[in-house]
């Protein structure tokens, strides 16, 4: 994984831990948490751009381009999708949606690294 991916993954796992605490205590995330998720999403945009640049540069020739771009775009969409889908649900279920979204991101990074390794 790249340094950016490791950093984002660490943030996702920290956020996921906090959400577990909130779910156990039956609380909803506060405003600052959603702001942090927005910052995370901006980093995902940077991640997408860097990923495409990396793909078109040296060493990216053998990589399955469609799969790689698919996971880059999917990783970009998962956090907004989770925030939107959880917003109408003021229960533990809504908070758990955010938890799933945060856990899917590192999983997609692992997939990206696998696809890269298979073609590089």
């Amino acid at each position: 994984m790249t340094a950016l991916q490791i950093g984002i993954s660490a943030a996702c796992l920290l956020g996921a831990l906090w959400l577990v605490v909130l779910i156990v205590r039956d609380r909803r995330p506060e405003r600052w948490f959603l702001t942090a998720m927005l910052v995370l999403e901006l980093l995902m945009v940077v991640h997408l751009v860097l990923g495409v640049v990396r793909l078109t540069g040296d060493g990216g020739e053998g990589v399955a381009a469609w799969e790689y771009v698919g996971y880059l775009v999917g990783a970009l969409l998962i956090i907004p999708a989770g925030v939107i889908w959880s917003s109408g649900e003021p229960s533990r279920g809504g908070t758990a949606v955010l938890l799933v979204a945060l856990l899917v991101v590192p999983f997609m990074f692992v997939r990206l690294a696998d696809i890269w390794a298979a073609g590089g």
Binding site: G70, E89, R92, A96, V100, F107
Partner: protein
């Protein structure tokens, strides 16, 4: 009767949605770029994608019977494809969502239909008194 997409259903629909998207994306790439390489697993990938899409829509729109059908097909699919991929590995040169009982996805595809079935059947009367 409580809506299927409220409470715990909210997160269940989201997980189904993630699988619907990822299975659709995967099978589209497989069918468009290398359909002739391994037709059986790629057709099964397409079937899996369809099942996840139907299950997601049915759960999100509270169609209990359709959701039940989709979840049952999903359960049969992951068990049959999982078993077939273990017994006949030469037929499964490329992975589907359901290969090796969903090992590539942390076995979530194996657990998901069980949870889905529980959620859809929850609260239903055992003897069918229709409402």
């Amino acid at each position: 009767m409580a809506e299927l997409s409220r409470g715990f259903g909210r997160v269940l629909v989201f997980v189904y949605g993630v699988f619907a998207l990822s299975a659709t994306g995967r099978s589209t790439v497989q069918l468009l770029t290398k359909a002739d390489e391994a037709p059986v697993p790629y057709a099964l990938s397409g079937l899996a994608a369809l099942v996840y899409v139907v299950a997601t829509v049915a759960l999100a729109s509270d169609r209990r019977r359709l959701a039940l059908a989709a979840v049952l097909v999903e359960m049969v699919g992951v068990l049959v494809v999982g078993l077939a991929s273990v017994l006949l590995p030469e037929e499964f040169s490329d992975a589907t969502v359901w290969s090796q009982f969903g090992r590539g996805y942390g076995y979530v595809p194996l657990v998901l239909p069980v949870v889905g079935l529980w959620w859809v059947l929850r609260g239903l009367p055992i003897r069918g008194t229709r409402t």
